[in-house]
């Protein structure tokens, strides 16, 4: 594979790796190119991006490469955030809030287990919006912080108390959901029709 094609693949990998990022070793294994070469290529790409006036940049956070927006574009993002009809909570924040609402109090790692991805950013947003609060600490190693919803949460969603939340539309026990899904695939064979 030539270097230009390789750069395209790396950009795609960075793009879908999102906030978690991806490190040089992982990239090297996927594209089957030595790690040092990957590092060199990414340095090259950083320069390419700057030169081409691209709207994203490659940054290195905790040894993982990430694509992020440019700091000078913040004024535009502010306009986007406040533009009419724009929901100010991302899907990630909404999911995190929903989990906390139905399963509170719980720890960050419990939320992450359900969502399958990190949620530090979402928690910070929800804390800064005062939709959730720290509600003591769990027993056990490290005594992690427990999260719960706030009075503002109830106010915002027009709820008198937390028990007024509608029945969860779905099973929130992810392990059970996975088992259910597996069972369903089995059943599918019997009932492919509907």
């Amino acid at each position: 594979m030539n270097y230009d094609k390789l750069k395209g693949v790396i950009e795609g990998l960075l793009f879908i790796s999102g906030d978690e990022g991806i490190d040089a070793r992982q990239i090297s294994e996927i594209v089957e190119v030595p790690e040092e070469e990957v590092v060199d290529l990414i340095e090259d790409m950083k320069a390419d991006f700057r030169r081409a006036g691209r709207g994203v940049q490659i940054v290195e956070v905790a040894k993982a490469y990430q694509l992020t927006t440019l700091p000078e574009h913040v004024p535009y993002f502010e306009r986007l955030a406040t533009s009419p009809g724009q929901s100010t909570l991302s899907q990630a924040a909404l999911e995190t809030l929903a989990i906390i609402a139905y399963k509170q109090p719980l720890t960050r790692s419990e939320i992450e287990e359900i969502r399958g991805v990190k949620c530090e950013k979402a928690l910070n947003t929800l804390l800064s919006k005062q939709l959730i609060r720290e509600a003591g600490r769990a027993e056990g190693i490290g005594r992690p912080i427990l999260y719960a919803t706030t009075k503002e949460f109830l106010e915002h969603f027009g709820l008198r108390e937390i028990s007024d939340l509608p029945e969860p539309p779905v099973n929130l026990d992810i392990e059970e959901v996975r088992m259910e899904a597996t069972a369903l695939f089995g059943k599918q064979e019997e009932k492919t029709n509907d």
Binding site: Q86, G116, K129, V170, V177, K191, N193
Partner: protein, 253 residues
């Protein structure tokens, strides 16, 4: 309730009929009703023998086919071009016409579904990333959140669980169902490897699923029809032997 489970390989009676018409290579506008009805009933019988529950829709269609067949046997009235308006008799209409119209319409959507499948496959080849949290870009003094309702919250939850359910794409993909055509080729190979003969029971692996059984059965019927194989059973309840039909040796696999 038992009737709600449908035959595995077909989406319904129309699908089965289209399959039979296709296999028989006959004109959909001029269906040989007697022949197709016979095959349709035979398929349903086999299904029942395999103790598959036959959905009521399949039974209703069987009745429809039989009724068309009997109407076709009636002598057709001479065409009366200038029939009085109110007297547009049913007998004048080809009894198959309504069925043909239904088959055509269903076929159309089946083709559209195929196109949608292709689009789905194409779309599944590209990935996006989740939208970024815009909250940090809202000025600090403004603590309110806008345009977020309880509905959004529940909706987010549903999406989340859906994602968890969808996380097993590999299991889904690997469960590739074998087509009747492929199964036909396999059976002929098995017969050949077995020196021109294979026991019926050998055609099924231990954990054979219903759809495998149905596919195998349909493949056998097709092969018999095409006179590639013959089935012999020496005694009742004995294993059926699948034998290569005479003259089938030279056919291409």
């Amino acid at each position: 309730m038992a009737y709600s489970i449908k035959l595995d390989s077909f989406e319904g009676p129309l699908d089965l009929l289209l399959h039979l018409i296709d296999k028989a290579e006959v004109d959909i506008y001029d269906i040989p009703i007697a022949e197709i009805t016979e095959q349709y009933l035979a398929t349903i019988d086999r299904m029942q023998e395999l103790q598959l529950d036959v959905a009521s829709e399949f039974v209703v269609m069987a009745a429809t086919l039989l009724s068309i067949k009997s109407k076709m046997l009636l002598p057709r009235k001479e065409e009366q071009v200038f029939q009085p308006f109110l007297d547009m008799d049913v007998e004048e209409v080809d009894p198959r016409e309504e069925l043909v119209a239904r088959l055509l319409e269903y076929k159309r959507y089946k083709l559209l579904a195929e196109q949608l499948r292709e689009m789905e496959i194409g779309r599944n080849k590209v990935f996006t990333r989740p939208a970024e949290n815009l909250a940090p870009y809202v000025r600090e003094e403004d603590h309110t959140i806008k345009n977020v309702t309880l509905y959004d919250l529940i909706h987010a939850l549903e999406k989340l669980v859906q994602k968890a359910k969808d996380k097993e794409p590999m299991t889904k993909v690997s469960r590739d169902e074998i087509s009747i055509k492929d199964r036909m080729t396999q059976i002929r190979q098995l017969v050949r490897v077995g020196g021109g003969m294979v026991r019926f029971s050998q055609l099924f692996s231990k954990g054979a699923t219903r759809s495998e059984i149905v596919t195998t059965f349909l493949a056998l019927l097709e092969l018999m029809k095409a006179k590639h194989i013959t089935c012999i059973q020496n005694q009742l309840f004995q294993d059926i032997m699948i034998c290569e039909a005479e003259g089938a040796q030279n056919d291409e696999l």
